[in-house]
């Protein structure tokens, strides 16, 4: 870099900030501004008066408690299952046997599919004349179709949503964990083996603690996304299982009240921030603990 340019941009100290600038502008325009607007919409009436009316109406909504319940229930069911499966998948991919990389591509396939499309794929499995019923019927296991997706059997419908979400979004957790696994220095693993730690012991006492920072990021990202789950639920369970993100969507697009839609969005944001804080506080990585 020539001296003139260096003078304009400031010293090398400022270079990183210049490099960050495009990202900051992007985040500012596409995340912070809408976020700011949503908060204003949620608290300010069309006449410009500060009001809590929209939150009161949100809480008083017939579907609110249900939506809140299912949103949490879905996140609490899905995230632990996903993290465990993703860990198993990551360990397999990272195992280093011949062809183990092949699994990375297989596992990552659903990442390329939009969530709505994923919901529709699973819908074709679970409908009354779907693939699952056809297979069970042709094997002679059932003599008439089972209604998997049914308001009369919300448990089964919920499991169908969990299955679809699990299939669709576990890969992102796996990718983060694979990256984390690859950052673990071979020295630790070799040292562990020299000292006699193998198999489960090695995973439990060496790999997992070293993987904690990655696990933390994966948990935060997955939990936030799980709270926002919407398209898969919409496609599979329709109106049987209401969720908060869905209610925000309906209020905005069907009932055309952006204020109440924003109230839902703000509530989701507050829950997401709360969960992130929880993870940061209670899942401190070992490194920080040692350093601190």
């Amino acid at each position: 870099m020539n001296t003139r340019l260096r003078q304009v941009l400031g010293t090398d100290t400022f270079l990183p900030y210049w490099l960050l600038l495009p990202t900051l502008i992007f985040i500012g325009i596409f995340f912070l501004m809408p976020l700011f607007n949503a908060v204003i919409l949620a608290f300010r009436s069309d006449e410009g008066v500060f009001t809590l009316e929209y939150f009161q109406r949100m809480v008083g909504d017939v579907r609110f408690i249900e939506a809140l319940k299912y949103t949490f229930f879905l996140a609490l069911t899905i995230v632990p299952i996903q993290v465990i499966t993703a860990l198993a998948m990551a360990l397999l991919v990272n195992a280093g046997f011949r062809g183990s990389r092949f699994f990375l591509y297989i596992f990552a396939l659903p990442l390329g599919i939009s969530d709505l499309a994923a919901g529709l794929i699973w819908l074709s499995i679970f409908t009354q004349h779907g693939f699952l019923n056809s297979i069970l019927y042709s094997l002679g296991i059932i003599d008439k179709p089972i209604y998997y997706i049914s308001y009369q059997n919300i448990g089964l419908t919920f499991l169908a949503v969990v299955a679809a979400e699990h299939w669709r979004a576990t890969a992102i957790v796996m990718v983060i964990l694979v990256a984390g696994l690859q950052m673990i220095s071979k020295d630790y693993l070799e040292a562990a083996e020299v000292l006699g730690a193998r198999g489960w012991k090695k995973i439990w006492y060496v790999i997992l603690p070293l993987l904690k920072p990655s696990l933390q990021s994966a948990l935060i990202i997955r939990t936030i996304f799980a709270l926002q789950t919407f398209a898969v639920v919409l496609a599979l369970a329709g109106d049987i299982i209401p969720v908060l993100a869905g209610e925000a969507y309906f209020w905005h697009f069907f009932y055309r009240n952006s204020h109440i839609a924003s109230a839902y969005a703000v509530l989701l944001m507050v829950i997401s921030i709360g969960m992130t804080w929880f993870y940061l506080k209670f899942l401190k990585s070992r490194m920080e603990v040692i350093r601190g």
Binding site: D61, E66, L123, T127, Y147, G238, I240, Y255
Partner: protein
């Protein structure tokens, strides 16, 4: 060169021949370019050939339509000779309309539909075309019809018994009502159930008749396919035979009838204790009081209401005929099946026509749907207090917007 001059002369003669016989038709319908082209080329060109009257078609949005018609009326002089608009559009320009009761019609329009055009002490418009929601049944379901029930004039009790018979015979819930997030369930509740059971869509929301209606719906729901809350349209479940009987908008069942026209019939929606409630999206033809050529306008109206043109409109833009003779003139296939059902429904002697609410917040849809969700899908007992609070909110929406209650409530 010679050819060109001949052409020029021909054009000039043509233009002069049409002079004085050129009228302007303003319409809030057929506005999309493809539809406007269809009207100009397929409908108006043959009319000009037959009568020598050139019609200039102008598509307009609601706001433009109202301001232009009102301005011409206030000026006492106008250029627009004839109007085409939805019922609700005409309501906004009622004063500016001439009485069209003397205008000849090209076919037979049912009394029910004709009456809807009577407003402000005159025939404000002549019905042109309609869109509606009705029932479609697989022919396999017909053998389970309850004894004495007429499939062309079902009651809600018949429907319940019918679905129950099928359930008892096949073990399957073969009745379909679209109740998914993007479904038109709210139309079924405010335009079909409520008017059929209570006679109104708003005024009797929390009445005793409404309580009975919700009790009925809970009972009927036992025979509705439990996947219904995931369905936005009924064509796919009809084709897959997950359901044998379904209710939906004509456009949302059409595909099933196109693919298997021999397997289905389209029938009127059922009648309740108050009558046969159904929604009509009705477009009509009116003549402004300031029309420069009411005679030519009347000729156009007569032409547009002939069975042949009505069928053309159905094929071109999917709106159904209002003229009884047209239903039989539709070539066989999906459209003919639907046209027969639409026509039978519109001609029902016990008809209670409902209009779609206009000018109010879309939140009214949520009020109907939420009540359904609570009582029917979640299965909670019918709670009068809740009905009352929903009714209050619903009336508030009309009050806030200063909008009149739509038919059958308002007049």
């Amino acid at each position: 060169m010679k050819k060109l001059s001949v052409l020029a002369v021909a054009l000039l003669v043509g233009a002069f021949a049409g002079l004085g016989q050129k009228i302007t038709w303003m319409s809030t319908q057929f506005v999309p370019i493809a539809e406007a082209e269809f009207v100009r080329n397929e409908i108006l060109a043959p009319f000009a050939e037959a009568t020598g009257i050139e019609v200039e078609f102008i598509g307009a949005e609601y706001a433009e339509f109202v301001s232009r018609v009102t301005a011409e009326y206030e000026a006492g002089k106008g250029e627009i000779a004839v109007l085409c608009a939805l019922h609700g559009d005409f309501v906004s320009v009622l004063d500016a309309l001439a009485d069209v009761s003397g205008v000849p019609v090209g076919g037979t329009i049912s009394e029910t539909l004709m009456k809807l055009g009577q407003m402000g002490g005159k025939q404000a418009y002549i019905p042109l075309m309609q869109a509606t929601y009705l029932m479609v049944a697989n022919k396999k379901a017909l053998e389970y019809l309850p004894e004495g029930a007429d499939v062309w004039a079902l009651t809600y009790d018949d429907l319940l018994q019918w679905a129950k018979n099928i359930y008892e015979a096949t073990g399957m819930q073969k009745l379909g009502i679209p109740a998914g997030p993007k479904s038109l369930l709210h139309r079924f509740i405010h335009g079909y159930l409520y008017p059929s059971f209570t006679g109104y869509q708003v005024l009797a929301f929390d009445s005793g008749a409404a309580v009975k209606m919700w009790e009925y719906m809970k009972e009927l729901w036992q025979y509705v396919n439990p996947a219904a809350p995931t369905w936005d349209a009924m064509d796919t479940p009809l084709l897959s035979e997950e359901v044998w009987i379904a209710w939906d908008h004509t456009a949302r069942v059409k595909q099933a009838l196109i693919e298997r026209p021999d397997d289905f019939i389209a029938i009127p929606s059922p009648a309740g204790p108050a009558g046969r409630g159904f929604i009509t999206v009705l477009a009509g033809l009116g003549i402004p009081a300031t029309s420069p050529d009411p005679d030519a306008a009347a000729k156009l109206i007569e032409y547009l209401t002939t069975p042949e043109v009505q069928v053309k409109i159905l094929q071109g833009v999917g709106f159904f005929p209002v003229v009884a003779e047209a239903a039989g003139a539709v070539p066989s296939g999906a459209l003919q099946i639907l046209a027969k059902g639409v026509s039978a429904q519109a001609a029902s002697p016990d008809a209670i026509v409902s209009f779609i609410p206009g000018g109010i917040s879309d939140e009214y849809k949520k009020i109907y749907k939420d009540t359904f969700f609570k009582f029917v899908i979640k299965g909670e007992p019918v709670d009068v207090e809740f009905l009352r609070s929903q009714a209050t909110r619903l009336r508030e929406l009309y009050l806030e917007a200063g909008a009149p209650y739509p038919a059958p409530d308002g007049s």
